[in-house]
């Protein structure tokens, strides 16, 4: 690897950081995407394109695309609509390239796909036709489809996550969807085990095991080994069950990272003002905290759901951004950290790209 990119979405535009192969020195470009609020940026290795999803308070939702590593951008929202009689879409929360298509998760929660590189979009109607949909209620961040996890080889299979609604999966290319929340507690409901209503914050797939998932939920951290049909609480040992961001190791299916935050009604910031990243090496049976290089007092910052990224280098690099605009990086799999950049706008999304 001779070049790295960090793609950073913020409340005030996108930023691209150019790094060398060592991932120690970075230079910043931005704000990009005309300063629009950008929730998520993703890299499509098949086309070497960058996609950025967001929405402007004035100009509505759009997916931006760059084919030259962020130097120039175009944008489109053609077809990104529920129709003239449907609810209005203010913003895009997730963009995910998969199997030659691009998928977008939007608010209010729904899924769109583009088969022409983001030029036009069409609604994947089956998700909103799920029988539970009349009961979907927004979480604090809105009613948002914020996570899209495609199967690595089978384009018919995909998992998505909606805050305060739960995880859904399709095995027929999006025609029908099944809620997959069994075992996940809804701690804000009189019924702790409803079919839907679980507030999933982030869903990641284990490397090389497409039926193995980890989930950071509002009410705990969970593991599934059967494609999300059944979940098991793996929060034990963490300082807090609550958090947003989660990352999975690109080669080791037993390793993942979370950033626990204080109780949801008590700030949602680094517990005790000490910022730490927690890693499991055994699939969530145990956790270890790493804070070397991170502020350990008076750091009352949050880390949002899309704001942590794991690259594919060896050793793995991990990068995350805070609600207060500091971007941290680790090039030793999360054991020690340093500041990549400070004084950015609130960071909403981070993606790490190791270029050949």
């Amino acid at each position: 690897m001779t070049r790295s990119l960090l793609l950073v979405g913020t409340s005030k535009g996108a930023f691209v950081f150019d790094g060398d192969g060592a991932r120690k020195t970075w230079s910043l470009r931005g704000p990009l995407c005309e300063g629009w609020p950008i929730h998520d940026l993703q890299w499509d290795p098949s086309t070497r394109s960058i996609y950025a999803g967001g929405g402007s308070a004035w100009y509505g939702p759009a997916v931006f695309k760059s084919d030259d590593l962020g130097e120039t951008w175009n944008h489109s929202s053609e077809g990104l609509t529920y129709g003239d009689d449907g609810p209005k879409i203010p913003t895009v929360w997730n963009v995910t390239p998969a199997h030659g298509s691009i998928f977008a998760g939007v608010e209010p929660a729904g899924l769109f796909r583009s088969d022409d590189g983001g030029a036009t979009w069409r609604h994947v109607e089956g998700l909103r036709e799920h029988p539970s949909r009349p009961g979907w209620q927004p979480g604090a961040g809105g009613l948002i489809c914020h996570t899209i996890v495609p199967h690595p080889t089978d384009p018919q299979r995909m998992w998505i996550a909606i805050s305060a609604v739960g995880t859904f999966a399709t095995e027929d290319g999006g025609t029908t969807w099944e809620a997959r929340n069994r075992g996940v507690v809804d701690c804000n409901s009189p019924d702790p085990h409803p079919e839907t209503g679980q507030c999933v914050h982030k869903l990641v797939m284990a490397a090389g095991q497409p039926d193995r998932f980890y989930q950071q939920n509002h009410c705990g951290v969970y593991r599934s080994t059967d494609g999300g049909h059944q979940w098991e609480d793996i929060s034990k040992g963490l300082v807090s069950e609550f958090g947003f961001a989660m990352g999975a190791h690109p080669r080791d299916p037993a390793t993942s990272w979370v950033i626990p935050l204080s109780h949801p009604e008590e700030g949602r910031t680094a517990p005790g003002g000490a910022l730490g990243v927690w890693r499991t090496r055994d699939g969530g049976d145990s956790w270890e905290r790493h804070g070397d290089g991170l502020p350990q007092k008076n750091a009352f910052v949050g880390v949002f759901r899309e704001a942590m990224a794991v690259d594919r280098s060896d050793p793995v690099g991990i990068f995350f951004g805070t609600s207060t605009g500091t971007l941290y990086g680790s090039v030793d799999e999360g054991e020690s950290w340093s500041v990549v950049a400070a004084n950015l706008p609130p960071i909403w999304g981070v993606e790490a790209v190791a270029l050949d």
Binding site: E34, S56, A57, W58, Y59, A62, H75, S77, E78, D84
Partner: protein
């Protein structure tokens, strides 16, 4: 032909689009369609589902707040202005 004045933050999304242009249009809706002909995608930036003018976009015809149905005359001046709102 009516004249349309566009905000910098809008035309910056469409490289080469002018801040001021003349369009053959009988209404505000027509004018936005003509803008979209020249700069594909501009209609989506200005209109939401409905269709309706986006909540934080204000349109004036000859200085008076307008809707999509507001008629335009040959000498009309259409201002499209972002509202003092947003994030």
């Amino acid at each position: 032909m009516p004249t349309v004045l566009l905000p910098r933050s809008l035309v910056s999304l469409f490289p080469g689009a002018p801040r001021r242009c003349e369009v053959e249009a009988a209404s505000v809706a027509d004018a936005i369609d003509r803008l979209d002909d020249v700069s594909p995608g501009m209609r989506n930036r200005l209109l939401d589902a409905g269709p309706s003018i986006r909540r934080h976009i204000n349109v004036y015809v000859d200085g008076i707040p307008a809707s999509l149905a507001t008629p335009l005359g040959p000498d009309s001046v259409v201002h499209i202005i972002p509202a003092v709102s947003g994030g």
